[in-house]
């Protein structure tokens, strides 16, 4: 039975975070879309104003896969709902395949839930791909509601090129 710890990410973790982001993107067949660099992650997460926070899951060195000891992570930040106030937004959530089924994912979600309640958030939001039934079940078992289904919300994006077109000349 593998033992593991969860802790706040530190600047030295950015290469592991980058590796796990790419692994998750690869699983979604989108690896080439990851243009973020370790430098960006460092500036954006550990500067004066962090734009994201990470929890990392670590196993003792001997158990690590190919020498890695960081084997899972969650990336989150705070958002704001004008009806109810602060929310915790779960952006990325991934545990390496060989370390699943050990309760690491559940523990991460538990720690995030405590964080949300402690910082007086009214809820936790996140998006899931509609064909990712395993994840949908994981979340629904824990009480998550599908707002796209129940309230008809659709996620939109305006990309940089189109933003530039709209900027004042």
């Amino acid at each position: 039975m593998a033992s593991f710890i969860l802790r706040k990410a530190e600047p030295r973790d950015v290469s592991d975070i980058m590796r796990l982001i790419k692994e998750l993107a690869k699983f979604e067949e989108m690896e080439e879309k990851v243009v973020l660099t370790e430098k960006d992650l460092l500036e954006d997460g550990f500067g004066d104003h962090p734009f994201y926070h990470c929890l990392v899951a670590e196993v003792p060195k001997l158990q690590g896969s190919e020498g890695y000891t960081v084997i899972g992570f969650a990336m989150y930040y705070f958002t704001y709902d004008p009806w109810i106030g602060k929310l915790l937004y779960l952006e990325d959530f991934y545990v390496m395949q060989e370390f699943r089924g050990l309760g690491i994912g559940s523990k991460i979600l538990k720690v995030l839930s405590e964080k949300a309640v402690k910082t007086r958030c009214s809820g936790m939001h996140f998006i899931v791909a509609e064909n990712n039934t395993k994840s949908i079940e994981f979340y629904k078992r824990r009480g998550a509601a599908d707002l796209s289904s129940e309230e008809g919300w659709r996620l939109f994006e305006i990309e940089k090129d189109d933003l530039l077109k709209m900027t004042a000349k």
């Binding site: 009806w83 791909a129 009480g143 707002l147 796209s148």
Partner: protein, 171 residues
């Protein structure tokens, strides 16, 4: 009727709440707004702002409407692990009687400038699937429906679910 756009200040929280409630009323959800002016003040103008607002204010030299707050956007910064910082447009509303004057376009342009200045790679927001006028407004400006194109669905854990998942409180 002229208008100007400016960053919201602490004194604007009552107008912000008024407009939030007006928009909620339009969506037939007014009773779901439990946020108070006090929370808006603490959360937006404390040490760590959790949101930012741009206000649209009327300007008319001799008009009784001068200084009236008639529209706003509420936004904050999010993070996409593939591309980095994004600007997230949370709320966007112009009072009915002041539409068609370019205030909405002006607000969106202002946000686009802001996104570019803060090195964001894009702007994201959700729209109700039955809100045709808004969907058209955004699509005209290049917005893509990621729910449609990439199948993303928005989920929520309510506070009750969070408490259930957390460590039980000691008696």
């Amino acid at each position: 009727m002229e208008y100007k756009l400016r960053k919201a200040e602490p004194r604007d929280v009552s107008d912000i709440l008024r407009l939030v409630k007006e928009l909620a009323k339009y969506e037939e959800m007014e009773d779901q707004v439990t946020l108070t002016e006090k929370e808006l003040l603490e959360d937006g103008f404390g040490d760590t702002p959790f949101y930012h607002c741009i206000i649209a204010e009327l300007q008319g030299k001799n008009s009784s409407d001068d200084g009236k707050v008639v529209g706003f956007v509420m936004y904050y910064f999010t993070y996409d692990p593939w591309v980095g910082k994004q600007l997230y447009l949370e709320e966007f509303y112009v009072m009915d009687e002041y539409r068609g004057m370019g205030i909405g376009s002006g607000l969106l342009r202002h946000l686009s400038d802001l996104a570019m200045n803060t090195r964001c790679t894009g702007m994201m927001f959700v729209v109700a699937e039955n809100n045709e006028p808004s969907i058209q407004f955004y699509k005209l400006r290049g917005a893509e429906d990621l729910s449609q194109e990439e199948g993303w669905r928005l989920f929520r854990f309510s506070k009750n679910s969070l408490v259930k998942m957390g460590t039980p409180v000691e008696e």
